[in-house]
C-alpha cells in the first residue's frame, strides 16, 4: 500500500534502495521492540473496503507463526478471524459481479536471495536477506470462487487494480510486487454443481502470467481427471520460463501457523465518524465512471472500460454534453487518442466532429488536426486554417473534375466502357488525380458523386 512508512514502524516504505537501508529496530524485530499501527495504512485499507462495498468492522491483529530467515520475528502480524473489511464485491466491465470475502491488513516479509546449490534455502551455499520490504503494509483481498475462466480472472485483477489506483491505496505495479496474485483454481465436469479440488498457484507476476498459469493449470487438472486420476489439493509454483506449474507443498505439508491474537497491539476499532469521512472522500470508482458514461452515451459499460481506464471518460462526457455525436466521440478516443488527450478540450473535440461530419474536413485532415489540437490546445478551425485544410468548394471541385476528365480522354473512355473491375480501377485513378490537384482537400464522397454524374451512370 502507498503509505510513507511501514505498517508498524517509522522506516520508509519504498521500493528498491540499497539492501537494508530502510530498516529500524522495530521492523527488524529486535528484542524488546513493539509494533505501533500506522494510521494511514488503516485509512487506505478502509478506502479499499468501502470501495468494494465491504463492511468496515472492529478488527484484531493476530500472529501467524512460521520460520523463515526473511521474517525478522518468525511470525507475521496479520489479521485472521476478525479482519477489518468483511464482504463486498467488485463489478467487472462485463457486468459480472465478483464477491469479495474479506480484505485484511498484514505486514510484508523481507526478501531472500539464495546463492549456490539449487537456489533453495536448505541447499544454498549462503543466503542474502534484504529487510527493506519487511513490515511494508499489505492488504490481502480474498475473492469468492466466482470466476469461471482465465479471461475473467484477468478482468477481475484489472478491475481490482483500477479500483486500488483510483482510491490511492496502491500503485498496482505487479512487476515491483506491489500487486501480487495467488490464484486458486479447480475444474469440474459440465453440469456438476460441486467445485472440484483446488490448487493455489503462486509466483504469478503479471496479468499475462495469470492468464497463462490458469490456462495451463486448468488443462493439467482436466487431463488428470480425464485419465481417471485425482487432483491433489496443493500449492503450486508457476514457472514463467517453462510455462508450467510445479508442486510447492501439499495440504498435508501445510504449516500450522498457530494463529493467536497479537498481544502487543490493541483491537482496531475505527471511529464511525472516521469511517464516514473516508466513505465521503472516496473518488468516483471505475465502475461508477463507466455507468455514468454509459448513461450519457447510450453505450454498454463493457465498451467504455478502455476510455475509463485511460481516464478519458470526463472528456467524453463533456464532449457529448457539448452536443457531439457520442459514437464519434468514442471512436476518436478509442482509435486516435491512445497516447493521451493532451490539451484537447471538449469544445474543441465537439467542433472537430462537427467539421468532420459536415464534410468540411477529410478523415485524413481530421486526424492531422486532432493531433495538433492535442499538442496546442487550439480550436479545430484555427488549426485547419493554418494547415490550409479549407475544404474545396463544390463549384471549384466540379471544375477540377471536368478539367481532369478532359486531360485524360483514354482513361475516361475506359471508365465509361470498361467492366466493373476496369471501372473501379479508373475511378481510383481519377479520384487520385483530383486529390493531387486539390492537395488532398477534396471530399472523397463529393469526388465520387461528381465522377458518377459525369459518367452518366
Amino acid at each position: 500500500m502507498l503509505t510513507r512508512t511501514k505498517l508498524f514502524s517509522a522506516s520508509l516504505n519504498s521500493f528498491g534502495g540499497e539492501p537494508n537501508s530502510h530498516i529500524d529496530s522495530v521492523c527488524l524485530g529486535l528484542p524488546g521492540t513493539l509494533p505501533v499501527l500506522n494510521r494511514h495504512a488503516v485509512e487506505l485499507a478502509m478506502r479499499v473496503g468501502l470501495a468494494l462495498g465491504a463492511e468496515v468492522r472492529p478488527s484484531i491483529f493476530a500472529r501467524k507463526n512460521y520460520y523463515y530467515p526473511d521474517m525478522p520475528k518468525n511470525y507475521q502480524i496479520s489479521q485472521y478471524d476478525r479482519p477489518i473489511n468483511v464482504g463486498g464485491s467488485l463489478e467487472l466491465p462485463s457486468g459480472k459481479v465478483v464477491g469479495t470475502v474479506r480484505a485484511h491488513l498484514e505486514e510484508d516479509t523481507g526478501k531472500s536471495t539464495h546463492v549456490g546449490g539449487a537456489g533453495r534455502i536448505d541447499d544454498a551455499a549462503w543466503s542474502l536477506v534484504d529487510y527493506n520490504r519487511a513490515g511494508v503494509p499489505l492488504l490481502e483481498i480474498v475473492s469468492h470462487p466466482d470466476l469461471r475462466s482465465a479471461a475473467e480472472a484477468r478482468e477481475y485483477v484489472t478491475e481490482l487494480r483500477a479500483t486500488l489506483l483510483a482510491v490511492g491505496a496502491s500503485d498496482g505495479k505487479m512487476e515491483e510486487g506491489s500487486l501480487r496474485v495467488d490464484a486458486n483454481i479447480s475444474v469440474r465436469p459440465l453440469g456438476s454443481a460441486e467445485f472440484g479440488t483446488r490448487c493455489e498457484v503462486k509466483n504469478v507476476n503479471s496479468l499475462r502470467s495469470l492468464g497463462r498459469a490458469l490456462e495451463y493449470e486448468a488443462r493439467r487438472q482436466i487431463d488428470l481427471l480425464s485419465s481417471g486420476e485425482r487432483v491433489t489439493q496443493e500449492t503450486r509454483h508457476w514457472n514463467e520460463d517453462t510455462g508450467r506449474t510445479s508442486p510447492l507443498r501439499s495440504k498435508e505439508e501445510a504449516t500450522d501457523y498457530r494463529y493467536f491474537p497479537e498481544p502487543d497491539l490493541v483491537p482496531l476499532v475505527p471511529d464511525p465518524a472516521w469511517i464516514e469521512r473516508v466513505r465521503a472522500e472516496l473518488p468516483l470508482l471505475p465502475r461508477q465512471r463507466r455507468h455514468r458514461l454509459a448513461a450519457a452515451t447510450g453505450q454498454p459499460p463493457a465498451r467504455l472500460a478502455l476510455v475509463v481506464e485511460r481516464g478519458q471518460d470526463e472528456l467524453a462526457l463533456e464532449t457529448t454534453e457539448a452536443g457531439a455525436d457520442p459514437e464519434a466521440v468514442l471512436k476518436h478516443l478509442e482509435q486516435n487518442l491512445a497516447d493521451g488527450t493532451g490539451r484537447l478540450t471538449a469544445a474543441g473535440l465537439a467542433g472537430l466532429i462537427t467539421m468532420e461530419q459536415s464534410g468540411e474536413l477529410t478523415s485524413n485532415q481530421v486526424k492531422e488536426v486532432l493531433a495538433e489540437m492535442v499538442t496546442s490546445g487550439e480550436s479545430p478551425a484555427t488549426v485547419a486554417r493554418r494547415a490550409g485544410f479549407e475544404a474545396v468548394g463544390a463549384g471549384e471541385l466540379a471544375g477540377v473534375v471536368d478539367r481532369i476528365i478532359a486531360e485524360h480522354p483514354a482513361e475516361w473512355q475506359r471508365l465509361r466502357a470498361g467492366d466493373d473491375r476496369e471501372r473501379k480501377k479508373m475511378q481510383g485513378f481519377f479520384t487520385g488525380q483530383v486529390m493531387r490537384a486539390t492537395k488532398g482537400q477534396a471530399n472523397g464522397r463529393d469526388v465520387a458523386a461528381l465522377l458518377a454524374d459525369r459518367a452518366g451512370s
Partner: protein, 491 residues
C-alpha cells in the same frame, strides 16, 4: 548494611549536600563486596561513575537532575540498555548489544538515576528461583544456601543485600513480588499498561510489566512514579495520566475495606506464611480497616491458565532467536539446521520446556482445548476479581506460599516450582496492580511478604495500604523467632 532510602539520597544530592559520585561509589563497592551473591550479570561501573560526575556537575551548575538524582539503580537483564549487553541470562543472546534504551531507562536517566548494572534472572524470566540462568544462580542475602526467588532474583538480592538502592525488574506471573517476599524487600507490579514495555525483552506480552523493587514502600512508589506513564511506542500503554502518590503514602486505612482472599489462604500455603498474613490483617483491622474474607473462586484456576497463556506467547516471542540476525549462531549445513543447532545450544531446559508447551497449546486441534480455554479462565479470573472489588477496596493474600527454599530443592520438579507463583499470577491475568510488602519473618527467620492487590489503576489505594502495613509492622509480633537476619557469606 542499612542503605539510605532513595528519597534521602536524591534530596541530599539535589541540595548539594552529598555527591552522586559518592552514592554510586558506595553502591559499586557493595556490588564488588557482594559478588558471591551472583546478583549481577554486568556492572557498568565506568559509565555509572561518569554519569554520577555529570549529575554532580549539573547540581554545581544550579540544575536539578530530577527526583532520583544520584540514586543507584540496577536493571534486570531483560531491560534493554544501549551498548550494554542485554542477555536475559541466556546464551542465545550472546554478544548482543541493543542499539537503543528501553523507555524506562530513558525515564530513569531523565530523573537523574544512575544505572549501575544488569541483574541476573531466570532465563527469559522463566522460573521462580533464579536457578535457570546461563550464568549460574543468584543467592539469597538472608541465607546464601537459599534461592532469592525469581525470576527477578538478581534485582531482589541486589536491593536486599544493599548493593543498590533501587532496582527495576519485570513481573509476568509474580517475578517481582515473589523474590521481593523471599528477600524481605518491597516489590510491585503495576497495572498492565501503566509502565511502557518498550525495551523489555518479551516473555509473555499480555502479562509482562516492569515494576520497582526497593527497601521501602515510599521508595517503590517514588521509582514507580518515575517510570509510569503513557508511551506512544507501546500500543498497550494506558493514556491516562499518573496521579500523585504522596497523599496515598501518608494516608491512613481507617474505613478501608480489606478482603482476605480465602482461596489463596488454604492448601499449599505454609503455616508460617499464613500466620504473618493473619498478623497483617489484624494490624490493618486494629488501624481501623474493615477486614473480611472474600472468595475469588477463579483465583485457583489462575495458575493453570497462566501456564498455558504465558508459554503460548513465549513460544512466539522467542521464535526470533534463530541465529540469523543477532546473538548466538551455531553453524550447520543449511538454514533450518542452523536454526535448530542454535536454539538447541542457546536455550536452557526450562525455556525449551515452555516453548514446547506453548507451541503445543497453540497447535491446530489443541488450540480450543488449551489456549482457548485458558483465555476463558482468564476472563473468569478478571470477572471474579471485579466482583470482589465491588465489596472491597483492596485484597490481601500471601505473596509466596513458602519462605525462601534451598538451592536445588525444586529444580528437579518443575510442577513444584510452578506452584511458587500460585498467589501472584492472578494479578497478571487480570492486569491489576499488586505489591509485596515484608511483614516479619517465618520459618528459620526468613522473610515473609504480604501481598496487597488492587483493581486496575488502583495504585493509589494499593500504596496506601502497603505504607500502612510498613508502619504497623513493628507493633506486630512475629509468630516465629525473628532471629537476626543473617547477611552471611556463601558457604
Amino acid at each position: 548494611m542499612t542503605a539510605a532510602p532513595a528519597a534521602a539520597i536524591a534530596a541530599a544530592v539535589r541540595a548539594g549536600e552529598r555527591s552522586a559520585s559518592s552514592a554510586v561509589q558506595e553502591s559499586l563497592a557493595a556490588i564488588a563486596a557482594g559478588g558471591e551473591l551472583g546478583a549481577f550479570n554486568a556492572v557498568t561501573a565506568e559509565a555509572a561513575l561518569a554519569r554520577a560526575e555529570a549529575i554532580d556537575s549539573a547540581v554545581a551548575a544550579g540544575e536539578d537532575p530530577g527526583p532520583l538524582a544520584g540514586v543507584p539503580v540496577a536493571l534486570k537483564d531483560n531491560i534493554c540498555t544501549r551498548g550494554t549487553p542485554t542477555t536475559c541470562s541466556s546464551r542465545i543472546l550472546d554478544g548482543w548489544e541493543p542499539p537503543y534504551d528501553a523507555t524506562v531507562v530513558d525515564l530513569l536517566n531523565a530523573a537523574g538515576a544512575v544505572v549501575v548494572g544488569k541483574t541476573n534472572m531466570d532465563e527469559f524470566a522463566m522460573g521462580s528461583s533464579t536457578e535457570n540462568s546461563a550464568f549460574g544462580p543468584t543467592r539469597n542475602p538472608h541465607d546464601p544456601a537459599r534461592v532469592p526467588g525469581g525470576s527477578s532474583g538478581g534485582s531482589a538480592a541486589a536491593v536486599a543485600g544493599g548493593l543498590t538502592t533501587l532496582a527495576l525488574a519485570s513481573d509476568t506471573g509474580g517475578s517481582i513480588r515473589q523474590p521481593a517476599a523471599l528477600c524481605g524487600i518491597v516489590g510491585m507490579k503495576p497495572t498492565y499498561g501503566r509502565v511502557s514495555r518498550y525495551g523489555l525483552v518479551a516473555f509473555a506480552s499480555s502479562l509482562d510489566q516492569i515494576g520497582p523493587m526497593a527497601c521501602t514502600v515510599a521508595d517503590a512508589a517514588l521509582l514507580y512514579s518515575v517510570i509510569a506513564g503513557h508511551d506512544p511506542r507501546d500500543s498497550t500503554s494506558i493514556p491516562e495520566p499518573v496521579g500523585d502518590l504522596n497523599g496515598a503514602l501518608a494516608g491512613d486505612v481507617d474505613g478501608l475495606r480489606v478482603g482476605v482472599v480465602s482461596e489463596l489462604c488454604g492448601e499449599g500455603i505454609d503455616a508460617d506464611v499464613l500466620a504473618r498474613l493473619e498478623s497483617a490483617a489484624g494490624a490493618l483491622a486494629s488501624a481501623g480497616a474493615e477486614v473480611g474474607e472474600v472468595s475469588v473462586p477463579a483465583a485457583v484456576f489462575g495458575l493453570s491458565a497462566y501456564f498455558l497463556i504465558a508459554p503460548a506467547e513465549a513460544s512466539s516471542n522467542l521464535a526470533r532467536y534463530d541465529g540469523v540476525r543477532y546473538g548466538l549462531r551455531v553453524a550447520a549445513p543449511g538454514a533450518t539446521d542452523m536454526n535448530v543447532a542454535t536454539r538447541t545450544a542457546g536455550f536452557g531446559d526450562e525455556v525449551k520446556r515452555r516453548i514446547m508447551l506453548g507451541t503445543f497449546a497453540l497447535s491446530a486441534g489443541y488450540y480450543d482445548a488449551y489456549y482457548g480455554k485458558a483465555l476463558k479462565v482468564r476472563t473468569l479470573v478478571t470477572r471474579d476479581f471485579a466482583a470482589a472489588y465491588e465489596r472491597f477496596d483492596v485484597l490481601l493474600a500471601p505473596t509466596s506460599p513458602t519462605v525462601a527454599f534451598r538451592l536445588g530443592e525444586r529444580t528437579a520438579n518443575p510442577l513444584a516450582m510452578y506452584l511458587s507463583d500460585v498467589c501472584t499470577v492472578a494479578s497478571n491475568l487480570a492486569g491489576h496492580p499488586a505489591i509485596s510488602v515484608p511483614f516479619g519473618s517465618g520459618a528459620d527467620g526468613l522473610p515473609v511478604g504480604v501481598q496487597v492487590m488492587a483493581p486496575a489503576l488502583g495504585e493509589d489505594v494499593m500504596f496506601r495500604t502497603a505504607a500502612a502495613l510498613e508502619r504497623l509492622l513493628p507493633a506486630t509480633a512475629s509468630t516465629h523467632s525473628a532471629g537476626a537476619v543473617t547477611k552471611g557469606t556463601a558457604p
